[in-house]
Symmetry: C2
Subunit: 538 residues, 2 copies
C-alpha cells in the first residue's frame, strides 16, 4: 500500500463520519474504485442532440486529468460516465456548447475496490494479461455473437449458463446479426421505421438499444466476465450497418465509447473477420483504432479479429492479437510463432468450434476443442471456445447463447484451474526446439503430449534456470478425464550437456500410453537460479 | 516487346555502323542492359577524399533519371557505377564539390541483355521472386559466411564448388569474421596498422578490400548466383567493426552502396542475427534500411536476418523476410504462418545446418536438411542450405567455403529442377487446412508427406479451380533417391462436398510406405477454371 493509497483509504473510512458531524460540509457521493461514477444532467431535447450538442467532462484526482465524453440518453437527459482508477477524492467540471450543460462542477470519493473487483484487464509482461490490481488474468473466452440482441428469457438463460461455465470472456456483436428467419432483435442501434428495409435515421442513435447492451455488459461484469465487444462485422448485411458512411461510423464509435468505456470489463474488438467486410478499407480500420485510442480515456484492450488475412498486429494501437486460425493450435509448434512476430499477447479467439455442422469450421469434437486449448496454453498463448451443435430450438450457443451442450467446457475449466494454480503465466521454455513444453524456467513446467501416446517420458529440462541438485515433483494430468496423479518420487537434476539437465539416475516418468495427457512439473527443492542468459540458445 | 524496346533494339543494332560511316559522330560506348557502366575520373588525392569529396552522377534514358553516388577508389581515381535497366541511349552528367570532377558529361548505349542475363531479382506476386525479364527466380541459397575473405586458392575452390552445386544464392559477410586461430584476412574494409588491436583509421576505407569483394560478387554473377551481402554482424568482434560510431556506419554503408549496388546480383542483408548485435539499437537498424532505400538507385532486395527475435518485417523498407527458424520447416503447417503476417516472400535462410557439430544448430542429417527444403516449398516459402562438417583442413563450408561434403546438395538440386519445371510459384492450396499441399489451383500440385509413410493417398483436391471431369496425372517422387515415377492412370475429378473434389471412381494413389515421398499432380485434361472465389473458404 503506497502513501497516496493510505491517505485515500483513510479518507474513505473517516469521511462519512465527518460529513455527518459537520453539517455544513457537503456529503461526497462515493463510488468504488474501477466502478462507474455517472453524472446525469438535464439539457435540451429539441433539434438533434446527437449532432448538435457537445458535452464532456474533465476529471482529476489532483495528480492526473481525464477528458471524458458525455452522451445523450434521450428525453432531455445527458450522461457522463467515468471510471476512477484510484481511490481518493476526484473533482470534475463539464464543458459543453449548451449553457445548461457547461461548467457544472462536482466532486466524489472513490473508495478502495471491494473484494472481487480487481479492476480492468491490461497487458502484462508482453504476452500476457493481468487485472489492474496485479492478479494474472488468463483469458478463457467463449463466443456468443448475438446473445445481447435476443429476448429477455434467452438472455437470462445465457447469463445463468455463464454463471456456471468456466469462461471469463465473451465475444459478442455490438450491432445485431441478421439471423435469417429468426425473431427480430428487440432494439436497434439507430432509430428507424422499417429495419427490414434499412430505413434508418443514421443521425439518431437509439438509447434504448444501448441501455440493453449495458445491462448485458454489467451482468457479465458481476459474473467476473470480460465483454469483448465487436464493433463492426459483416453479419448485419440485412440491416445495413456494415455499409454506413464514415461520418456515421465515427459518430457511432464515439457514442459507443462515451457509453461503454467506463465499464471496466469492456474490451474493444474493432471487427470480426475484418477482411470479409468488403465495405471498408484498411484506412477505415486504422481510423477506428485511432478513434478508440484517442477517445477512450482508459485505454481499454483493443484488437481486430481476422478472417483469412492477418491485420498488422504490430501497429501501436493494437494491444493484443485476436486470431482466427484453428490450424495454429492443431499441432504443436505453430501457436508460438505469432508471439514472435507481434510481441504481444496472442489470443486464438477462434480455432473452429465444437459442434456438428457440415462446415469444417463448426464440427470439432469436444476432445479436439480441449486439445487445442492445451496446445495453445503450453505455447504461451490463449485459446477461445465456441459451440455450434444443431438443436430443435434453433438456439445455438455460438449465435444465440442459451445453454451449452458440449463436452469441452468442463475440461476447459479444469485447464483454467491448473493455470490459475500456476505461479505465473506460461511461456515457451525452449522456443523452436521443444513445442510440447511451457512454463517458468527452473520453477514450473507444463508438458503436453497432444495426440501422442507415449509410455514414458525421460525426465529432461532445458538448462535455463536449472542448477545441480534441484528437486522436481511430477504429476500426470489426464486432460480429458480431469485427473491429476502425482508420481511417487522426486527427480534430482544434473547437467546432461550444453542444453539440458536430466534426472541423476537418468529416470523417466511412466505414462499411461494414451493421448491427451500432460505433465505438471514443479521445483520442490534446491536453489532458485536467476534465469537470465546473455544470449538465448539456438 | 514494347514500342520503346523495339526502338532501342533498332538503335543498338544500327548505331555502330552509323558511327563508323559518319566520322564526326562520336562512337558510343556500349554496355549490356543490367550490366555496369563505369565512369572513371581523375581527381584530388590530397586531404581525405573519403571525407572531403562529394561525387555523384545523374543518369537518364530520356524518360527517367537515376541519381548515383560515386566513390573514391584510391590513387586519385574516382568511379561512378551505373546499371542501365533498359536498352537504349543513356546520358549523364556528374556533380561534385571538386572542379575536376563536376559537370563531366557523356552518353552510352545500353544493348539488350544477352542470353543468361535476366536482370536483377525482384519481388514477384507478393510471396515470390522473379528476374527483371519476368523469369521466376526460386531461391535455393547456401551460406558461406567468410568465403570472400579467404586466400585466393580457397576462394577459387569455393567458386568451382558453386559452379557444380545447385545453389543460386550465397549469403556472405561483407566485413570479415574473426575466425579464432585462423589465417588473417588478406584485406580489411578500413585502413589500419594493427588489426588485432583494432587500430583502424575509420575515416579511410580500403579500396583494395572492396575490389576483392567485387571480384567475388562478379564471379558469382557469372555463375548465375545472387550475392546476399550481410552488412553488419557480431562475428567481427575481434576487429571491432560491430562497434563503430554511427557516422562511420553510415559512411561505410554509403560507400558500399556506391561500389556494389550497380551489380545486378547484389542483395542487401542488413544484418545477420541482428538481435545478437548488442552495440546497435532498433533505431540503428531502421536507419540502415533507410540509407539503403534512399541511396541505392535500383531498390535491390533488402532484408535483415534474425537470431532469436523477429524484426518487424512489415516495415516498408523490408522487401522479404530472411528468417532463422529451423522449427518452422521441421513439421508441416508452420512455415506458411509467417507469410500471413508479413505478406512478403519468406526465405528461411537458416533452418540449422547439415553437419556433425555438437551444437544443435549444426548437426542436421542430410535427410533432415532435404526434408526441410520440401516442407518449406509446399508451404510457398523458400529454404536455405548450410553445411558444417568438421574436417582436418579446418575448412567448413558454412564459414570458409571450399568443398561440399554433405548429402543434401544433390537432392536440393533435384527439388530445384522440379520447381523450375512447375508452371509458376507454389502457394498453399488450402491454407490452414492441408499443410502438405502447395501448388496452383486447378493446374499443378505438390503434395509432400514428410516423415509420414503412407501406403496410399486418396485422390482429393481442394475445390478452387476445379470442375467436373478435369483429368489429372500423378507422379510419385522419392525426394531422397531422386526418382519420379508416373502413376499409370489418369484421375478424373468429381465434386465430393463443399470443399473437395475426388476421383470419380474414388480411387487412391498407391504409395511405397516410406518417408520423404511426394506427389506431383498436373491437370492433363478438362477445362481451366478461373480460380477466384468471392471469399476464401475457412
Amino acid at each position: 500500500m503506497n502513501h497516496l493509497y493510505r491517505i485515500c483509504f483513510f479518507i474513505a473510512l473517516v469521511l462519512p463520519v465527518v460529513a455527518v458531524s459537520a453539517a455544513d460540509a457537503p456529503v461526497l457521493r462515493e463510488v468504488e474504485q474501477w466502478d462507474v461514477y455517472e453524472i446525469e444532467l438535464e439539457g435540451p431535447s429539441g433539434g438533434n442532440p446527437f449532432l448538435d450538442v457537445r458535452l464532456s467532462a474533465s476529471f482529476s484526482d489532483g495528480f492526473r486529468r481525464f477528458e471524458v465524453d458525455g452522451f445523450y440518453d434521450g428525453d432531455g437527459v445527458y450522461r457522463i460516465r467515468f471510471m476512477p482508477d484510484r481511490p481518493g477524492r476526484w473533482t470534475y467540471f463539464t464543458q459543453s456548447n449548451r449553457r445548461q450543460l457547461t461548467n457544472r462542477q462536482g466532486a466524489f470519493e472513490a473508495t478502495p475496490a471491494a473484494k472481487g473487483n480487481r479492476g480492468p484487464v491490461q497487458v502484462h509482461r508482453t504476452f500476457h494479461f493481468a487485472y489492474a490490481d496485479g492478479t494474472p488474468y488468463y483469458p478463457f473466452g467463449t463466443t456468443a455473437y448475438n446473445w445481447l440482441h435476443r429476448k429477455d428469457r434467452l438472455r437470462a438463460e445465457t447469463l445463468e449458463t455463464l454463471a456456471e461455465a468456466p469462461f471469463n470472456k465473451v465475444r459478442m456483436l455490438l450491432y445485431p446479426e441478421d439471423e435469417k428467419a429468426r425473431p427480430m432483435p428487440p432494439e436497434f442501434p439507430f432509430e428507424g421505421d422499417d429495419p427490414r428495409n434499412q430505413e434508418w435515421d443514421f443521425e439518431r442513435l437509439n438509447p434504448a438499444f444501448f441501455r440493453r447492451v449495458e445491462e448485458g455488459i454489467l451482468a457479465l461484469r458481476d459474473l467476473g466476465i470480460e465483454a469483448d465487444v465487436i464493433l463492426f462485422h459483416k453479419y448485419g448485411e440485412d440491416w445495413g450497418f456494415e455499409a454506413m458512411d464514415p461520418e456515421v461510423d465515427d459518430r457511432y464509435l464515439r457514442y459507443v465509447i462515451a457509453r461503454l468505456a467506463a465499464y471496466r470489463n469492456v474490451w474493444w474488438s474493432v471487427a470480426n473477420e475484418w477482411d470479409f467486410v468488403r465495405t471498408k478499407t484498411m484506412d477505415d480500420w486504422d481510423r477506428y483504432f485511432k478513434i478508440l485510442s484517442d477517445h477512450d480515456p482508459y485505454g481499454r484492450l483493443r484488437s481486430i479479429h481476422n478472417g483469412f488475412r492477418m491485420y498488422d498486429n504490430r501497429k501501436d494501437w493494437v494491444t493484443h492479437a485476436s486470431i482466427q486460425n484453428g490450424a495454429a493450435v492443431e499441432e504443436p509448434g505453430r501457436a508460438q510463432m505469432y508471439r514472435d512476430v507481434w510481441e504481444k499477447p496472442v489470443v486464438y479467439d477462434e480455432v473452429k468450434y465444437e459442434g456438428d455442422l457440415v462446415q469444417r469450421w463448426g464440427n470439432l469434437s469436444a476432445e479436439e476443442m480441449v486439445h487445442r486449448f492445451w496446445a495453445g496454453t503450453v505455447a504461451g498463448t490463449y485459446v477461445g471456445h465456441g459451440e455450434c451443435y444443431q438443436h430443435p430450438s434453433r438456439e445455438i450457443w455460438l449465435t444465440t447463447g442459451g445453454v451449452l451442450r458440449g463436452g469441452s467446457p468442463e475440461r476447459i475449466g479444469f485447464l483454467r484451474s491448473i493455470l490459475e494454480d500456476a505461479p505465473g503465466p506460461v511461456d515457451p521454455v525452449d522456443k523452436w526446439q521443444d513445442p510440447t513444453m511451457g512454463g517458468i524456467h527452473g520453477e514450473y513446467y507444463l508438458v503436453y503430449f497432444g495426440r501422442e501416446a507415449p509410455e514414458k517420458w525421460r525426465f529432461q529440462l532445458f538448462r535455463r534456470g536449472l542448477a545441480e541438485g534441484q528437486e522436481y515433483a511430477v504429476e500426470i494430468i489426464d486432460t480429458w478425464n480431469m485427473t491429476i496423479t502425482p508420481v511417487d518420487t522426486t527427480f534430482v537434476v544434473t547437467r546432461k550437456d550444453g542444453y539440458h539437465f536430466i534426472d541423476r539416475g537418468g529416470r523417466a516418468v511412466e505414462l499411461p500410453g494414451k493421448p491427451y495427457h500432460a505433465l505438471r512439473i514443479r521445483r520442490v527443492g534446491g536453489e532458485s537460479v536467476f534465469a537470465v542468459e546473455e544470449l538465448p540458445l539456438l
